[in-house]
Symmetry: C2
Subunit: 451 residues, 2 copies
């Protein structure tokens, strides 16, 4: 739906909510796509949102919940009673049901699981056994699989039988007698093949699959690499246990990108642009500001230790911002590229050493150019060529140090099982500031003593 | 393919390239997925890469080129002669062919277009008429469409007829007698429907489509919102003209995310982690370092104008880093959230005003906390409560100013048709530094005069 249409509808719905006009609202909702209803809910205040949501029958409510972004979904479900949650979960695909249940407080989750259909409960419990951010954590148990000896006609009958349960079908998976995944048949191929042929004769044996414990980011990179619309998930023995569809991969890519951007900006988790509560926003942003605050207090302490030097040549202070900025900016460039490289390939000592060498080479080159520029400026502007030389040397050392720190910290973080992307945030910038100032003022002081 | 397997294969291929062992290499390549061959090529040096690529027949070469990332693809094609490019382009889907041709120098592009099949040329020329980053620019002309009055059986025959040309089929589109898009039938539905039914009786009439001139980022957000595997593209009259598949949308999402990260880090365009040329890397990074350099020279000039004040109370200089850092960090938080909001919704004066108000509220709250903290530190550490008060007030003004700048500049950039994400890079941080120092030192000087 076009943004402008949606705006009009939101305005209309807003008016009808104020009037508490149930019949008209239900009439509008029934014609809307669940994703559009989710969009509308995300723009309403809490009370209107909850009331409007209460008008939806369990089936529609379930479709809408699946379409909500993580943060508004958690907010909405927090306000529902256990019975309503059970109704909604009962209508969901196994992967979505598991997502919702995993976000519930333990006692509510238990009640919900007890009240839903037995088979659904088993499926959800099965899925909850996997880590949230792995293939097992995002896969669904709804898929079409047939024995490789089945005929095309039998495969089509299987699709018909499971038509309600498995909404989106792009491929039929072929398994052997031990349930091991052995092939894949795209629907197009199935349509074009003679009904009496065996699946084993038309299947593609080079089927790309992932194991349940693979990290979701890695799964996404495989789906992207091989241009897949769905990917089968196998257990440690190679038995087919689930399927991940590309819409979930698109969400993974979106979430991981959002996460990286937020970390880089010093925001602890995804902040929705439509969030209006100052307290909630501050809770996401203040922690990193405090980290930077404490770090820069150390900077202030470093400067205070060099009070005598600053007093002697005030001009030294003029270049504090430029030293900080060049170290900070070149450090962020290094860390961003190194972190992206780490996301694409596994960390290893040799790759680490290679990217460190590469970054030191780039820093030497860029540092040399910036150092020459700063020398020219200080020498010609302040007519202090020897101070210019000291500042230029300090600039070079600071930029090299930023590359050294920027290329090694992400590896250390990954080795310690932290997200290397943290290195692109205020944490590293702040440490760079402290180290940069220490280097700069030490060299400047040494120069004064030598004078 | 697993990363470890790929590493072994790369090592093996590397050895065979040194031996110039054509037969063995061809034997290995024939069993590899094009995406894996692309992966290997991206890890080789230029000479080995070109030689290995020359072993591929046009059909395989075409599949491999499609799988390469943008930067290595351009590098590779630069080194090919016109004849080889024509062979490869001839084998591609229309959208990929248009991508490759659009990157060629004009005279080469012309030669290539002249030498390929007439129908292919017309298709590529048709696609090149659209802007690169729009639905028209990323759509392919390969899709299955039937008249709504056709039967299911006729639709299946149409799929069979175009089976070679249209590799991936997930949906059949229904058009009326004027070629206007009127519905969509998923393959699953087609399989399960009786062959004699008419398409109009089984099609979904709520088909989500996009127009040729829609920005690709907007297309991606629609595909993500409605969980689609492909989306039809219509012209201004509503006639079906193309189709975008989800694998291209996944690439759009990946590229846009990479672009944002690079802009934020001050790198002018996507830098591959495997790039090793210092000069090439420097060309991407140095421009923003120079921008920051020039900006911070202004900072130095600002400081020099306050030389007397700095001389009088050196302690004022101690807090330069913390003032810069808090303004910078809170400014980046604001800009990042505002830019993300702008990407999701169209800019309008009322939305701009709303997010400005929201950001000023958050800045008031966070600024107040940081200001109280800095006051406590200065008052208790340096025993200068009145200087502490001045620094606290300056901190508050600097943080409010950062929010003001951070919330308005992205809107201005978008109004002027620049990418608002530029505001998250070194440009804004640097302006914030200059303004922040000006505010801080003006207030500190006023305080000294008032003493």
């Amino acid at each position: 739906m076009e943004e402008t249409d949606l705006k009009e509808i939101v305005a209309n719905i807003f008016y009808l909510i104020e009037q508490r006009d149930e019949p008209k609202l239900k009439n509008i909702l029934v014609d809307m796509h669940p994703a559009d209803i989710a969009d509308v809910l995300e723009r309403l205040d809490e009370e209107s949102r909850n009331w409007l949501f209460s008008l939806l029958n369990p089936d529609d409510a379930s479709d809408v919940v699946v379409e909500l972004e993580d943060v508004p979904r958690e907010d909405l479900i927090e306000d529902l009673d256990t019975e309503r949650i059970s109704e909604i979960v009962d209508e969901m695909d196994s992967d979505d049901a598991a997502d919702v249940v995993s976000e519930l407080p333990d006692e509510v989750a238990e009640k919900v699981l007890k009240s839903i259909d037995d088979q659904d409960r088993e499926e959800v419990e099965e899925l909850l056994r996997h880590e949230e951010d792995t293939a097992g954590g995002i896969m669904a148990l709804e898929f079409i699989a047939v024995n490789e000896n089945a005929t095309v006609d039998e495969a089509i009958r299987q699709i018909r039988q499971k038509a309600e349960e498995v909404e989106e079908v792009y491929n039929v998976y072929a398994v052997d007698d031990k349930d091991l995944l052995v092939g894949v048949v795209p629907l197009k191929k199935l349509i074009l093949s003679s009904p009496s042929l065996q699946v084993r004769d038309i299947m593609n044996r080079d089927v790309v699959s992932v194991s349940t414990d693979m990290d979701q980011e890695k799964v996404a990179s495989i789906v992207r690499k091989y241009d897949l619309v769905s990917i089968p998930v196998v257990d440690a023995q190679g038995r087919l246990v689930g399927r991940i569809t590309v819409d979930d991969i698109v969400d993974v890519l979106h979430d991981e990108a959002a996460e990286d951007l937020h970390i880089m900006a010093g925001i602890t988790e995804e902040e929705m642009p439509q969030e209006t509560s100052t307290l909630k926003i501050s809770r996401l942003r203040l922690p990193w500001l405090i980290v930077a605050f404490i770090g820069e207090l150390v900077s202030a302490y470093v400067l205070s230790q060099f009070e005598a030097s600053l007093h002697e040549i005030v001009a030294v202070a003029f270049f504090i911002p430029i030293i900080m900025a060049m170290g900070g900016n070149s450090g962020i460039q290094t860390t961003t590229v190194v972190v992206r490289g780490l996301a694409a390939a596994p960390e290893s000592f040799s790759i680490g050493l290679k990217s460190l060498k590469r970054e030191l080479k780039v820093a030497s080159f860029n540092g040399a150019i910036i150092s020459i520029l700063i020398f020219v400026v200080v020498a010609s502007w302040l007519h202090l060529p020897s101070l210019g030389l000291v500042i230029a040397i300090a600039m070079m050392v600071v930029i090299l140090n930023a590359a050294l720190v920027g290329a090694t910290i992400p590896f250390l973080l990954k080795k310690l099982n932290y997200d290397p992307a943290v290195a692109t945030g205020p944490f590293i910038t702040t440490s760079n500031d402290v180290l940069g100032l220490l280097i700069y003022l030490s060299l400047a002081t040494a120069y004064m003593h030598w004078l």
